[in-house]
């Protein structure tokens, strides 16, 4: 008999209450295994190496099980959605605490072989696609939050493109979260040679908890530009795990910008499973007040000839705490690996702190791997140079911080509209700097 961690009991109860016997058996089996795993693992503690810098107290102090039956929430304010959305031709899904808001979502004519919609709808109409999303990703492993998501998810989105299908307009998902606990499950499945651009925006109000798992599965030669913008409320908790598997010559270009949430974490686990696959991550955390953000990319080179590039930058003000836990793992035989990982941090004032741990784990010899990390403040000589040209100190600081952060946006291949969209958010954040 395994020992159930006491802090998991409210979640066990929530799981029991939510068991839906109409779900396909395979899913119910997965959910049962997942909740058992969670109940044994419990929440991570600072003794777990991967969580030693993360303060989970707010989450562990008071349980936040999902409400049951799910209370129906008012739709997000249409004006707000209007102000957040991407301009131009877009295929949009608005999720309110992971449930779809049909009135605010808008489709465009999708080509044959493309499917885009909510998880609930997928479960109803295309369980085969949903099953595929689960088949290609590992079970939750020793990861309590992923296990909890698997046990409790009710909403989220699924995008599936059949082999050879590409779509030129971006798929946009606006996730609105409120005071509730939400466990969205998302999946992006691109068949051989398919290509897509996905823009996700997490926003909301209140002191809710978002526990997201996103599965990305890229077939041979598939191409995905994936942008995530996180501007949740400053009281929210945002824990996200993205698990991507790349087949031969697939390319995954990921941009992740975190501005919001009191506590946020981006676990980005990428497996380069086919030769010549390529992964790029451009990430940024922009923190103030009491915020804490963790970026934890884990890139696994399983086969020869793959490349990966990670550039994650942090700008940390207030009393905020930034954490970078990056790992490049090169498995035996993964020769001609070319992997790079860089983390740069700006500490804006006293009282801020950063923990960075860029890790290399190499078990092949014919590799080119490097990592770098820096922590510092703004360059005094650059500040003086700008001031000597008549720019006041506060503007000069903003310009330098903006310049520091700009390349993570500019490097995204998601197109000019999205880049401008991200730049606007960065500018807004910069303007609010003290």
């Amino acid at each position: 008999m395994t020992i159930v961690k006491s802090e998991t009991t409210p979640y066990l109860a929530a799981y029991q209450a939510a068991i839906d016997t109409t779900e396909p058996t395979w899913l119910r089996v997965r959910r049962a295994a997942a909740i058992e795993q969670f109940s044994v693992l419990g929440f991570p503690t600072r003794r777990d190496e991967a969580w030693r810098f993360t303060n989970l107290r707010r989450l562990t102090k008071a349980p936040m099980p999902p409400a049951h039956p799910a209370t129906s929430l008012p739709d997000p304010d249409a004006g707000v959605i209007e102000s957040l959305r991407l301009a131009g031709r877009v295929c949009r899904l608005v999720l309110n605490n992971s449930a779809v808001v049909a009135a605010q979502s808008s489709g465009v004519d999708l080509p044959a072989g493309a499917w885009f919609g909510s998880i609930a709808e997928a479960l109803e109409t295309r369980p085969d696609l949903l099953k595929a999303a689960f088949a290609t990703t590992d079970p939750a492993g020793n990861q309590p939050f992923a296990a909890l998501n698997e046990a409790l998810f009710t909403g989220g989105f699924l995008l599936a493109l059949a082999p050879g299908v590409s779509f030129d307009a971006p798929f946009e998902i606006i996730h609105v979260n409120t005071d509730a606990a939400s466990h969205p499950r998302c999946a992006i499945l691109l068949g051989e040679g398919a290509s897509a651009t996905v823009m996700e925006h997490f926003t909301g109000s209140g002191a809710g908890w978002n526990n997201i798992v996103t599965c990305v599965d890229l077939g041979v030669g598939a191409k995905l530009h994936h942008v995530k913008l996180q501007t949740e409320s400053p009281a929210a908790i945002h824990l996200a795990q993205t698990r991507a598997t790349l087949a031969q010559a697939a390319s995954y270009d990921s941009t992740v910008l975190s501005f919001g949430a009191l506590l946020s974490r981006e676990d980005i686990q990428v497996v380069l499973a086919g030769e010549m696959a390529d992964f790029t991550l451009n990430g940024g955390y922009f923190l103030g007040g009491q915020q804490e953000a963790t970026f934890a990319p884990f890139v696994e080179h399983r086969v020869p000839g793959c490349s990966s590039r990670q550039l994650v930058k942090g700008v940390i003000g207030g009393q905020a705490h930034g954490v970078f836990l990056g790992t490049i793992a090169v498995r035996p035989g993964a020769d001609q690996t070319d992997a790079r990982q860089t983390n740069r941090n700006l500490l804006l004032n006293a009282g801020t702190s950063v923990d960075t741990k860029p890790e290399l784990e190499i078990l092949a010899d014919d590799v080119k791997c490097s990592h770098g990390a820096t922590v510092g403040d703004l360059d005094d000589s650059a500040l003086f140079y700008l001031q000597a040209r008549g720019i006041d100190a506060a503007t000069a600081r903003r310009m330098l911080i903006g310049g520091f952060a700009a390349d993570i946006i500019d490097a995204s291949g998601a197109g000019e509209t999205i880049r401008q969209h991200l730049h606007r958010h960065l500018s807004v954040w910069l303007e609010h700097l003290p």
């Binding site: 003086f384 140079y385 700008l386 001031q387 000597a388 000069a396 330098l400 700009a406």
Partner: protein, 252 residues
């Protein structure tokens, strides 16, 4: 004509260090071109840093009047907006900040100070094009980040281009000739000469006489051990070229 800049018995140092400037006296009127020469360690760069208000330097005695007002209380950006321009010996590289964006922000800050309307993107571009012809600068440089990946000559030309855009009353050129080959030097000097103006004073700080072959000064001063030990016209510079600094330094 009123004095643009008056330096009275100026003593200054790097914060916490010993005095580097030990009593500078100098008066500069609009329209004049002054050359300040001297050996390494004489205090030339300290003088330009103190005039531009670089943090980390402090005035321990004496004062500087610019357009009749005490400079000491002004921050570096305020000085710049009031028309003091320092062409840096080592222009700073600022990655991620576009050169044009930077220049427009600077120009509008200066214009605002002068009570002029800010320029929108189109007006700014027009102004840029007009000044570009002054210097041999390719538009490509303007699209890049500030000084990033510029050659030594490109950086110095970019400094003069900024000066042309900002139209300062007092331009201080700190070792603008250093690290330039003869063609680049000529191009930079031509730019500066075109910016000579009855309303503008130029102070060239240099170790070598060769810059003065291209930009003819009205006055030459020799700085040694933190003091001006000799002043004269351009013949003084030629004299220095022949006899070196040593005899002047010992005379001090």
């Amino acid at each position: 004509m009123t004095n643009l800049l008056e330096i009275h018995d100026l003593h200054a140092r790097i914060v916490g260090g010993r005095d580097i400037l030990k009593g500078i006296n100098l008066t500069i009127k609009a329209g004049e071109v002054h050359a300040i020469m001297g050996p390494n360690g004489a205090g030339k760069s300290t003088l330009s840093s103190v005039l531009a208000g670089k943090p980390g330097y402090e005035v321990t005695l004496g004062h500087v009047l610019y357009q009749g007002h005490e400079l000491a209380s002004l921050g570096p950006d305020e000085r710049a907006r009031q028309g003091i321009f320092l062409a840096f010996q080592y222009p700073v590289e600022i990655s991620g900040v576009n050169n044009m964006y930077f220049l427009r922000a600077a120009l509008n800050a200066v214009r605002k100070q002068r009570g002029e309307a800010e320029l929108d993107a189109a007006q700014f571009l027009k102004a840029v094009k007009a000044k570009l012809s002054l210097l041999d600068i390719s538009e490509d440089l303007l699209k890049r980040a500030v000084n990033v990946g510029f050659s030594g000559g490109e950086k110095k030309r970019n400094e003069i281009f900024q000066m042309a855009m900002l139209e300062p009353a007092l331009a201080i050129l700190d070792e603008t000739d250093s690290g330039l080959d003869i063609d680049a030097l000529r191009a930079v000097a031509n730019g500066v000469n075109r910016l000579r103006d009855p309303g503008r004073a130029i102070v060239m700080i240099t170790h070598y006489q060769r810059l003065l072959d291209y930009i003819e000064p009205d006055f030459v001063h020799v700085l040694s051990d933190g003091k001006i030990v000799a002043s004269g016209d351009k013949t003084l510079a030629m004299d220095l070229e022949e006899r070196g600094y040593a005899h002047l330094a010992s005379a001090a």
